[in-house]
Amino acid sequence: MAVSTHAPVADKRLLPPSKSLIGLIRPDTSTGLVDWLTTVDHKKIGIMYGGFALFFFLLGGIEALLIRLQLMYPGGTVVSAQTYNQLFTMHGTTMVFLAVMPLNAAFFNFVMPLQIGARDVAFPRLNALGLWAFVAGALILNLSWLFQWAQVFGWFTPVSGQMDIVPAIGWFGYAPITGKNYSGIGTDFWIFGLQVLGVASLVGSFNFITTIINMRAPGMTMMRLPLFTWMTLITSFLIIFAFPAITIALVELMFDRFFGTNFYHVEMGGQPILWQHLFWIFGHPEVYILILPTMGIVSEILPTFARKPLFGYPMVVFSGAVIGFLGFAVWSHHMFTTGLGVVATAAFSLLTMAIAVPTGVKILNWIGTLWGGHIRFSVPMVFALGFIWMFMMGGFSGIMHSAAPADAQQQDSYFVVAHFHYVLIGGALLAILGGLYFWVPKIFGRMMSEKVGYIAASAIIIGFNVAFFPMHYLGLTGMPRRTHTYLAGFGWETWNFVATIGAFVLGIGVLMVIIDLIRTVASGKPCGSDPWDARTLEWSLPSPVPAYNFAHNPVIPGRDAWWLHKYGKKPEQEIEYEKTGPEGIHMPSQSWWPLVSSVGLLVVGVAMALHSAGVPYCGYVAIGGLGLSVVSFFLWALEGPGGYHLTPPDDGDEPQKVLASYTPEPSQKLELTH
């Protein structure tokens, strides 16, 4: 089956459809929507992760701005107390689980396989399940808004008479406020949403770890891995060890609500403090799950724009691992005010201080990277420098919290709100936006606007500081968090007003980035394969990256392989390529089952919450949803991995040296083998 000689890349759309092991036609040759729904290509999955995450990020941002509007003046009446509580619950849950985590996952998916010289992740279909389960979980959480509106219009009333249909329990959901006595079906939406999101994170992490450990290109030893890949690995390990704790805690809570167990029923001997322990055993590693990948992003951007290798690479890797490890040993510093006793408090206090050391190591090594460099202030670099600065400030207030007695004044005050927004906006978000500007040329082959980038970066950094720096003051002068209003006369008026102004400036900056991103995808200026003169393997590929990533498997000469290849003085520093055999490149087949099984999970979540609201037959619908998932897992297994072969084009889009012996035969350009 010959192809026109003009086709630069072998095209799977020209292949006839293949059948699965049980005779079902697989969507291998699909295009358009079906292609996106059934794709197993890690790059497309990464793009979809990013797209969905940005949508939910905007939603969480709108919730944040409503919160700020309500607090602009004392005695604000923009929203009611209950709506406010729902807003901060959904804002926290959304930003942690539906924005920052999936944005990180978007980069994991897109960048990591390219960085290690792999053609895909270890389990492509499982990767798709991670994506669709994330979407299902996000929908379960956010569909609660629709039911809340239905309730407002009088179309829907839960039998319990409790009107909080959107969760109003805080993202931490401390028992016993999550019990049936104190909260309505919002809590059920929350429980099932988080459970499904947990499935998504877990399968994603199993996949990433297997990929990084097992699918590295020849020569890509562990100590040659790019820093971002290292942080992906550590983060994935954190996820697989941290998520079980919250999964079990949520199962216990679900049993308490649905089947009358007593895990958190105080009258029957349940201990609400157990929830706090389980939640924070998950919750503290979660903090590092959010921040470690972004540290990886910054560790890629800084060397690129300073034109120098990362200072103290082994130390940065090791400190990341130490942070991950210690992250499991400090959970109780979220509970300093719960009366743990002097020994436990002292131990967790000291361990928390200890975690400042590896974090400090990273900051010092980043400065060491810049030292003696040749620093270009491109947009990603502006974000990365902003990250270091803001993250450092967040770290300082973190050190202040670690002194447990001082924390007794700061806990649950706006001081803490300031602290973690410095770490999560000033830290995670700035790095993610930096990563976006850095990798969009690779993802879409188009450059984002520099002008908009600088203006947006200024708006974001300035707006952020105007919004959140005053919160340190507010907290220290006694303003507690999670309060829907405050009385005049406590000295909080000025700075709450200023914070609201800052939040809107921040919001405008973020909106500019997203609008420019959409414009870029549609009609941005095309760019070359390596616009930043970067260092790692992904920049050796054409932009956008072809479906099979590497036409020929690279053999890695050392750390920062692409940089060595470009500027190395010795011949052994060049990347060599293993010639792809005449049979072509094995590509995985696409599949409907990840999507269908996720739809099953979505049905389970929504139906269980409605069952709790007393809607008839919802129990059966939930069982049906579970059945749909189970059946699709069976069909998934029966359908088998499938796969077909593509032959790379002869001109080789790789900007490089294919082994001399390789002479492709035009007649074998595209061949169906299965």
């Binding site: 805080g170 120098k308 200072f311 005010t337 620093i375 202030f377 050190i399 007794a408 720096f469 500027y567």
Partner: protein
């Protein structure tokens, strides 16, 4: 390229201008002596916590100046200048173990500076001091059992959605939303919750400790000088969490004893006709199901605050409404307005509270303005 470099300059300038304006605001717009400020300690615990906080501030400020300064200098010194060659290749140094280990050791040393006072203050706040002078028998002149005379004043703090009960077991009195303690004496607070988790926070006297159902938490406090202090629940506890405030009056010994004497008395009998009508309405309109008024044989409810001396309190509705005039004393007129407003519109003022409303917020008891006026008149006699 020209445009971009101009933009870069604009960016830097705008950033610096914004920063300086912000710092100016910070200097001019901040007072640390506000009503609920933890930076204005009035007791030994708050002071110890404040001192420790300042240690962390100075240490981190030092790191901020050195590391931040280094970062700024490096970024400035090694920036690419307009006339630089784009392809200039800096020295490809990979790291320096000696520098790295040295910096690690330095950061550990800085943390030790914080760790030592942390442990000291930790032990201090967690141990009830053996203060002879604070024992009840040493300073309190009223009747006490021998056992009570040997112990310090204890208050059982009970958190409810969304108000506080303060019980003084040694003195046999109970009050709500206003914690009255003597000046200069150690007081032990037993912290319990009736429903969900709350947190007791009185910033000028002490940092917070949680009230967790099924768990026996406690803390000790001491106030250095008489005054009116402001506190608030600091753990999210449901829809009206923001309205779960409380007040604390720190009194001199003499005033405290007078206050105790007064609180021990039963409520006066309703003698006037209009007051008696209010008392009757208080029973008819189901108020008695939730509120206790000692001296009123029908009012024995325990779901709501004890109202025996409600008119002697300086605030209403868990601290939301202030009954005081400009002189800091109770203004009877203001109190009457507040009581009327509260009884009439309690769901509007504090959504979700239990006063004669069902879960859906619908009124279960009809109340006319006249009824409310009568009830207020009765409550104002509980003085």
């Amino acid at each position: 390229m020209m445009l971009v470099s101009t933009l870069k300059r604009c960016f830097v300038r705008a950033f610096l201008a914004g920063l300086s304006f912000f710092l100016l605001l910070c200097v001019s717009g901040c007072s640390f002596k506000t009503k609920q400020s933890s930076l204005d300690p009035k007791g030994p615990i708050a002071l110890a916590q404040y001192d420790l906080f300042m240690v962390t501030v100075w240490v981190t400020l030092f790191i901020f100046v050195t590391v931040g300064g280094a970062l700024l200098w490096v970024v400035w010194r090694f920036r690419q200048r307009p006339d630089d060659d784009d392809d200039h290749m800096p020295n490809q140094s990979h790291g320096n173990p000696l520098v790295e280990v040295g910096l690690i050791v330095a950061s550990i040393l800085l943390l030790v500076i914080i760790a030592v006072p942390t442990l000291r203050v930790l032990v201090y706040t967690f141990e009830l001091p053996e203060d002879e002078g604070s024992k009840l028998g040493q300073w309190y002149q009223g009747p006490l059992t021998e056992e009570d005379a040997e112990t310090i004043l204890t208050v059982n703090v009970m958190g409810y959605q969304w108000w506080w009960a303060f019980e003084y077991p040694q003195l046999g009195i109970t009050t709500a939303n206003e914690l009255v303690i003597p000046e200069g004496k150690v007081v032990k607070l037993n912290l319990r919750s009736a429903d969900v988790i709350h947190s007791f926070w009185l910033p000028k006297i002490a940092g917070k400790v949680d009230l967790i159902p099924g768990r026996a938490n406690w803390m000790w406090i001491k106030a250095d000088e008489p005054g009116h202090y402001y506190g608030q629940c600091a753990e999210f506890c449901g829809s009206a969490h923001a309205y779960m405030l409380f007040r604390s009056d720190v009194l001199s010994h003499r005033d405290f004893e007078a206050w105790v004497e007064y609180q021990k008395k039963d409520a006066p009998e309703a003698l006037e006709v209009s007051v008696a009508a209010g008392e009757r309405l208080f029973a008819e309109k189901t108020c008695i199901q939730c509120h206790t008024i000692r001296g009123n044989q029908y009012a024995m409810g325990i779901k709501g605050p004890d109202l025996t001396h409600v008119a002697s309190r300086k605030s209403l509705a868990a601290g939301i409404m202030d009954n005081r005039g400009v002189d800091g004393r109770i203004d009877r007129l203001k109190q009457r307005e507040n009581l009327f407003e509260w009884i009439k519109n309690s769901q509007h003022i504090k959504p979700g509270n239990l006063m004669y409303h069902d879960d859906a917020g619908l009124k279960t008891v009809p109340l006319s303005d006249d009824d409310v006026h009568k009830i207020v008149a009765y409550l104002q006699t509980l003085n």
